[in-house]
């Protein structure tokens, strides 16, 4: 076990930046999960599967336009909407009838949903690896004090605050967001004053799934789009939501930061054991604050 000896300030800075762009994706995916958990109280196991579908759909839409720049932007817009549409249909036709059931049933339903999605992806897209090209101006990298920083990661870095701002606006400034927050605290009360709780739930569920799709769409150009993407992300997303505080979107942001940064800095300091760092961070957080860092909504 040896420490990398020549850690310059520049490489540390660089590593933090890279970690932050990873944080962005984790935040987008985990915030959707957290939103649904907070309001609907459902641990959506299928969230990772929707993320995978988002990536595959981005690939397909972009390929319709021969993977051109226009195609990429169109796909980035359309694919998460497609994921939202799927989740809307499932929510309205099946899921909405289950809200009165126990958590266990809801959890198992989402697990069943993830099984179905998994095999549907295999049926539709087959087993070949897929790859998507980002538009030319997002390809390659520029140099920060001698270290390369991929342009696409910069783009991701910019998307993070954008999504966070959108979520803040949604939960604090819109009627639906306010109702959702109220419903998260006291569902009966919101129903009693004549608000259509079911409709709000549907909206929250769809927005949550949209975020999963958006996460998948955004990582598509950096990854191997393949079956199994779902398993890779779902546990991480759950851990982030737990350390942040169930249902707290800003907790998800904090959790994603902890996860992303411990990961990238760990890689620089102790590369052989980097894999363990984020998990150790999670365990430490949970031993001292078993209900997460920020206040849970329930």
């Amino acid at each position: 076990m040896e420490f990398a000896t020549n850690i310059s300030l520049a490489s540390l800075f660089q590593q933090v930046l890279v970690g932050l762009s990873r944080t962005t994706i984790l935040f987008i995916v985990a915030s959707g999960l957290s939103l649904v958990l907070g309001v609907l109280r459902i641990p959506n196991v299928a969230h990772g599967s929707l993320y995978m579908v988002g990536a595959f759909m981005t690939y397909t839409f972009a390929s319709l336009f021969g993977q051109s720049a226009l195609g990429f932007w169109l796909a980035l817009t359309v694919a998460p909407l497609g994921v939202a549409l799927i989740s809307f249909l499932v929510e309205r036709s099946l899921f909405c009838h289950l809200y009165e059931r126990e958590h266990m049933m809801l959890l198992l339903f989402t697990f069943a949903f993830s099984l179905v999605i998994g095999d549907m992806v295999k049926l539709i897209w087959g087993s070949d690896y897929r790859s998507l090209t980002a538009p030319l101006f997002l390809q390659g990298s520029f140099s920060i004090s001698g270290f390369p920083f991929p342009r696409y990661n910069l783009f991701l870095l910019m998307m993070g605050p954008l999504v966070a701002a959108g979520l803040w606006f949604l939960t604090n400034k819109t009627k639906i967001g306010k109702i959702a927050r109220a419903a998260a605290v006291d569902r009966e009360m919101v129903g009693a004053i004549g608000i259509n709780v079911s409709g709000v739930f549907a909206a929250v569920f769809v927005i949550g799934c949209y975020l999963a799709g958006l996460g998948g769409a955004l990582v598509a150009p950096t990854q191997n789009i393949t079956q199994g993407m779902d398993h890779a992300i779902i546990i991480e997303a759950f851990l982030i939501v737990i350390i942040g505080g169930l249902g707290n979107i800003w907790g998800a942001l904090l959790g994603a930061l902890i996860f992303g940064l411990t990961d990238s800095i760990g890689i620089l300091l102790l590369p052989q054991f980097a894999i363990v760092f984020p998990y150790m961070a999670v365990v430490i957080v949970l031993i001292f604050r078993p209900k997460g860092l920020l206040k849970s909504t329930w």
Partner: protein
């Protein structure tokens, strides 16, 4: 309390009903049964489908010509979903219930070792088609297991032979944090140290299988300034690693070696986006060697499946040639005689004459080391400057095998 009794009755009725509803398949007399357990779901299926298709292509040909020893060949495939318990159950189903004569599979090393252990007990020949674990024909080898694919020991030796010719001194090793990654890395490094004593290892980094973002690793490696990097990554992680290498210009800053980087399954999805100048090794390219045997194999495979054969197709073909060739040589269906005939046997293949080493049951495949490059006429990168490292040069020696087996 009554519930216990009644429920146990229904419980037993269910079991017994199941037994009768699903009757075991009949034992047809004049058939040669081949059972394949492999992972046909998830990212690994991009490799395994080729093995199955390559094998079935040959089976079709033999069946059309009347079969082997007057018997038709029947192939049973089962999906393990990359789960060892499922795969092991399926293997037992094939051996106990279908009474297969030969077992084949699988890409999952843990499952390959488990089935190998089962086949040793049941005395059923088992042909390992894609697992790269050197234990299969090394430490855990036995009379009933054969490997028709390269393994981590072979790849490591081949890579070291290639790298020893280069002037690099300071290396960094990085790879998938699981058995395969570590085994490849150990294989390359231990051989390289022997062949070129001056080399120095600056450090290592290990990422989890399915790592979503390689950029932090790449920048960390660059900050250590190695002369060259050995990337021990397998399967689906090759694609995103090469993407990250391209995006960060890694390949232009540091030369790096990556075992299966030049394979079709890795390079085709990347299209022209793949980085150039990556050193890789593989058992097969559809465009190399440029022999008549390879060209006709590619043509047949393309006609049947409408795609180019990847390395798995050759493993499938080799399995078929060894299995049916040995039966033909033996002149009858007898397991022990079959094994005696496979030992030391050679077959013709698209990559030339391949011998099954008698001692450890490891097929001696040549390894092709090449460098990725854009070439006119292909819409993806191909390997160029290919150097062929013959099978006999990269096989672990029999002494090494004996040592691994504590003999």
């Amino acid at each position: 309390m009554k519930n216990l009794s009644v429920s146990s009755i229904s419980f037993s009725i269910m079991i017994i009903a199941c037994m009768f509803v699903i009757a075991p398949s009949s034992l047809a007399a004049k058939v040669l049964k081949i059972g394949i357990v492999d992972c046909y779901s998830g990212p690994a299926s991009t490799y395994t489908n080729d093995v199955r298709d390559g094998f079935k292509l040959e089976v079709k040909k033999i069946n059309a010509a009347g079969g082997i020893l007057g018997r038709k060949i029947e192939v049973f495939t089962r999906d393990s979903k990359f789960k060892v318990d499922l795969g092991l159950s399926a293997a037992k189903e094939l051996i106990y219930r279908e009474n297969v004569d030969i077992m084949m599979g699988t890409i999952n090393s843990a499952l390959a070792l488990a089935i190998s252990n089962l086949c040793k007990k049941e005395k059923v020949p088992f042909f390992v088609t894609f697992s790269k674990s050197a234990k299969i024909t090394g430490a855990k080898g036995h009379r009933y297991v054969f490997s028709i694919t390269e393994n981590t020991a072979i790849a490591g030796k081949a890579a070291a032979a290639g790298l020893a010719k280069k002037p690099y001194k300071k290396y960094w090793i990085a790879g998938d944090d699981y058995e395969y990654g570590h085994a490849i890395a150990d294989g390359v490094w231990s051989n390289l140290k022997k062949m070129q004593p001056g080399v120095e290892l600056l450090g290592q980094s290990w990422w989890k299988v399915g790592e979503p973002d390689f950029t932090p690793y790449i920048t960390a490696i660059l900050s250590a300034k190695p002369d060259a990097v050995i990337i021990a990554t397998g399967g689906r992680d090759n694609v995103p690693f090469l993407k990250a290498a391209k995006a960060t210009g890694f390949n232009e800053r540091v030369p790096f070696f990556m075992h299966t980087a030049t394979e079709l399954s890795t390079l085709k999805p990347l299209g022209l986006e793949a980085p150039e100048g990556v050193i890789g090794t593989s058992n097969y390219f559809f465009y190399y060697p440029e022999t008549a045997a390879n060209k006709s194999f590619v043509k047949n495979f393309e006609e049947a499946y409408n795609r180019k054969p990847a390395v798995g197709a050759v493993y499938g073909l080799l399995a078929a040639k060894f299995i049916f060739g040995a039966y033909k040589k033996a002149g009858k269906v007898d397991t022990e005689e079959f094994i005696d005939n496979v030992e030391g046997m050679w077959v013709n293949s698209p990559v030339g004459k391949i011998t099954m080493r008698a001692y450890d049951h490891q097929a001696m495949l040549p390894m092709f080391m090449g460098v990725t490059k854009k070439v006119a006429g292909y819409d993806f990168l191909v390997a160029t400057d290919i150097v062929t490292i013959p099978g006999k040069d990269v096989m672990p020696s029999i002494e090494e095998i004996k040592k691994a087996r504590n003999q």
